[in-house]
């Protein structure tokens, strides 16, 4: 069977699951979930919405159920309703089907001589003629077309593979939540849109997926919508993303105007006739800049990253799937997909690299001092995405995708581990109230250990290979520079430090756990630990697809990732060949430096938070303003609130208000006055002229008819009298004659 021609089916599996859940889920789920939780022998499991204050806010069935369950709680297996079992099969099953389908399709793609396969199912927008900027007539056509090439094949494997593991994890993590079907419906819907995004063969269809994942992100961040902060976070994510999307749409329109098409293959062909804009910002640079602005929204880069940390209000599997592994990498994918454009625009590429590096170090500094375990990981994600953009900006597209690939493993792993910790801690997220969990939840500990080593950049694990390649490219690529490299290196040190701070606060040292929570610490069920172990394996071995060229003992087959992606970035590959100008010894030194920085970060964190816990406090006191600055995230949220939310929106609101009162209302009132005046005139005319005429006519007729009317008395005898008189007159006339 030729799976390549059927790739359009890949997104449809999760869509089917989503449709089933969202259309029928409510009907199939008559009993509230809390009844299940009340059953004896149920583990008392709190997810993050079961904070202590939650019991007061939502004192009805849910909180009560958990109190009740707590009394009975002694680690039995939780009873799942038949419906839940069905959902547990359908929703992860659909993603698994997509994964298998994708894997086979990618395998078949690998057999093709030219590894690009396009399937156009049908036309969406058929031939709208319009004039391009150069005056030529073009036809705007958009197909429901699917493109499988090396780049999108990496993406679909990541999305479906890691998506499947996170689905499985969710069956354990969400087991005691209301709205089970809703959660899985949204999750499947997300996978559908994400697959549309990466399989689209044109920017317009990509944008459909782009907006769709944004919608699912919004829905899932606000999954605990009864919590105000969750609803606000969802809105924030949505609004901030729309700001970026405006850039994307404008970039797309500019592309239509200049190139006349939004189809990837045609765009690439059209761009071949342009020369690189080596100086300043030409039309292509602006186009690329607008697209990149869209990417900064979706992928949480500097001006627009503020929504991602707040997005941690969503359930942890959502943070892992959407806000770490897949959706936030959509911007990276999109820029990589536009590589042909960015290669022609070095100025914009520099902007991309600088923004990426700046975001990386900014987010890493914030992550240093956060106390919420998920927020540390959220800022870490922003930081790692910054690395990817740094790689994109210096023209190392395959490295960006490579880092996307490895990051998807270890960041999903870290998030799921943090979820497992939160699960064990009955909803506690503050690392100051953790500690010493190492032996109580060993699987979580060991997998998180692997994830942290991987992200810190210790040789042999996934993060090392991709991060080191990024640093090397930042240094050696023609568009790279030593400053970019140094920022990346510093970020690597900070990364190692904050990850080990997290590990120390959570797993080592003395327990600071509240006693009532400590009694219930337990390892997560197998549905959660098995995905953790698989992801940990990915975090260990995922990097070996892209071993540095420097390690000559490993043959070309160990660098499969680069050669697999090479056709997608043909021009970039040519650029990369130039890197030979730098000597191998430089690369060895740089590699050694980055490893050294990682080890220093780990050691310092270990020393600070394990051996001498008083040091961080004294440092914190010594540089209080700096700590406050970092703890409050450089006050970026406050600045945005001041400038945009309060300044622009409310100030603009005042301005609009006065405009509304004076001009709009004036116009409305004026129109109203005119209407009333016209109505008064009209009424006078109607009353006196029209009605007057009618009434006069009636009066006149009445006057004329009055003599006749009085004859008609209605009395029969009067009439009879007239008859008799008439007869007598008639007879009299004859008699007299």
């Amino acid at each position: 069977m030729n799976f390549l021609d059927q790739i359009w089916l890949i997104p449809l599996f999760p869509l089917f699951g989503a449709a089933l859940m969202l259309l029928l889920g409510k009907k199939l789920d008559p009993q509230p979930v809390s009844e299940v939780a009340i059953a004896p022998g149920v583990e008392p499991i709190y997810d993050e919405h079961h904070h202590h204050e939650h019991h007061h806010d939502h004192h009805h069935d849910q909180g009560h159920a958990h109190d009740h369950a707590q009394e009975h709680g002694h680690g039995g297996r939780h009873a799942a309703s038949p419906l839940k079992k069905l959902i547990n099969i359908i929703c992860p099953g659909m993603v698994l089907l997509s994964f298998i389908f994708s894997a086979v399709a990618v395998w078949q793609l690998a057999q093709q001589p030219v590894r690009v396969h396009q399937v156009i199912k049908f036309t969406w927008i058929a031939g709208l003629p319009f004039h391009m900027a150069n005056g030529h007539l073009a036809n705007f056509t958009v197909d429901w077309g699917f493109l499988l090439d090396p780049l999108s094949s990496v993406m679909i494997l990541v999305v479906t593979g890691i998506g499947f593991l996170i689905h499985v994890y969710s069956t354990g993590y969400m087991a005691h939540d209301n709205g089970y079907y809703r959660f899985f419906g949204y999750l499947n819907l997300f996978v559908f849109f994400m697959l549309m995004l990466v399989l689209a063969n044109n920017y317009a269809l990509l944008f459909v997926g782009w907006e769709g994942v944004g919608l699912c992100s919004y829905l899932l961040i606000g999954f605990y919508f009864h919590k105000k902060s969750a609803g606000d976070a969802g809105k924030k994510a949505f609004v901030v993303n729309r700001v970026g999307d405006a850039g994307f749409v404008m970039g797309m329109l500019l592309m239509l105007s200049v190139l006349g098409t939004v189809k990837f293959t045609e765009v690439k062909a059209a761009l071949a006739s342009f020369t690189p804009e080596t100086t300043g910002f030409g039309i292509l640079s602006i186009m690329a800049l607008l697209l990149f602005f869209g990417a900064t929204g979706k992928s949480a880069q500097f001006p627009l990253y503020v929504w991602l940390p707040d997005a941690m209000e969503g359930p942890t599997p959502v943070s892992a799937l959407i806000h770490a592994a897949t959706m936030v990498t959509a911007g990276v994918y999109m820029v990589a997909r536009s590589a042909a454009l960015f290669q022609l625009t070095p100025s914009t590429s520099t902007v991309v690299a600088v923004v990426g590096a700046f975001t990386a170090i900014l987010a890493a500094t914030i992550a240093l001092v956060q106390n919420d375990i998920k927020r540390v990981l959220a800022y870490s994600t922003v930081s790692q995405l910054g690395y990817m953009f740094l790689a994109l900006g210096v023209g190392a597209y395959w490295v960006a995708i490579f880092h996307l690939f490895t990051h998807a493993f270890f960041k999903a792993l870290l998030f799921l581990d943090s979820g497992s910790v939160i699960h064990a801690m009955s909803g506690e997220q503050d690392m100051r109230r953790m500690g010493g969990l190492k032996d109580k939840i060993p699987i979580t500990y060991w997998t998180m250990f692997i994830g942290s080593v991987a992200i810190a950049g210790i040789p042999g694990l996934a993060g090392f290979f991709s991060k080191d390649e990024i640093l090397w490219q930042a240094y050696s690529s023609p568009q790279g520079s030593q400053i970019l490299w140094f920022v990346g290196l510093a970020t690597a040190g900070l990364t190692a430090f904050y990850m080990w701070r997290l590990m120390n606060l959570t797993f080592y040292g003395k327990s600071r756990v509240a006693p009532e929570v400590a009694a219930h610490i337990h390892e997560s069920p197998a549905a959660m630990t098995v995905p953790l172990i698989l992801l940990a394996a990915g975090s260990v071995f995922g990097g070996w697809l892209g071993v540095p060229k420097l390690w000559t003992i490993f043959g070309e087959s160990w660098r499969g990732f680069e050669s697999w992606l090479a056709p997608a970035f043909a021009a970039a590959a040519a650029e990369a060949a130039k890197e030979g100008e730098h000597s191998a010894s430089t690369e060895w030194v740089l590699m050694g430096l980055s490893v050294a920085v990682a080890i220093i970060g780990i050691t310092v964190a270990r020393y600070f938070y394990h051996h001498k816990p008083e040091i961080p406090d004294s440092i914190e006191k010594a540089v209080k303003p700096l700590h406050a600055l970092l703890y409050n995230k450089w006050y970026v949220d406050e600045i945005y609130d001041f400038l945009f939310v309060n300044g622009l929106c409310k100030g603009g609101g005042l301005l609009l208000g006065s405009f509304d009162r004076n001009v709009v209302d004036g116009g409305v009132n004026g129109a109203g006055w005119l209407t009333r005046f016209a109505a008064t005139v009209s009424m006078w005319w109607d009353t006196w002229i029209v009605d007057g005429t009618v009434r006069f006519t009636a009066f006149f007729v009445k006057m004329l008819s009055y003599p006749v009317c009085i004859l008609q008395s209605g009395r029969v005898q009067t009439y009879a009298f007239f008859v008799v008189v008439g007869v007598l007159v008639a007879f009299g006339y004859y008699a007299v004659r």
């Binding site: 008819s705 009317c709 008609q712 008395s713 209605g714 009395r715 029969v716 005898q717 009879a720 009298f721 008799v724």
Partner: protein, 102 residues
């Protein structure tokens, strides 16, 4: 002893006609108006029979019988209307029933 001639009949008939007409025009009670109409009809009947007798022909008498039948039907319809009227207006006085006017 004078024989009864046609003139006598006609005189009786004229008297009845006069009484009936005055009754119809002056009495307020509809029952009496109907009775007066009967008088007028019977005046006609007497005329018909008188002339039939005088002419030695029988058609006039046959016609009188038709008139009697007609009078019965008319009385039946008239009284029926009267009862319906009484049910609605609770009166049998002709001058109080004056809806048919402008």
């Amino acid at each position: 002893m004078h024989p009864i001639t046609t003139v006598h009949y006609l005189a009786l008939s004229a008297a009845l006609l006069l009484i009936g007409t005055v009754g119809v025009l002056t009495r307020r009670n509809i029952v009496i108006i109907l009775m007066s109409i009967e008088l007028i009809l019977n005046a006609v009947n007497i005329n018909l029979v008188a002339f039939s007798h005088a002419a030695g022909q029988v058609q006039g008498q046959i016609f009188a019988i038709f008139v009697i039948v007609d009078a019965v039907a008319e009385a039946a319809v008239g009284l029926g209307i009267l009862i319906a009227l009484f049910r609605n207006k609770e009166t049998v006085l002709a001058d109080e029933i004056d809806l048919l006017k402008w």
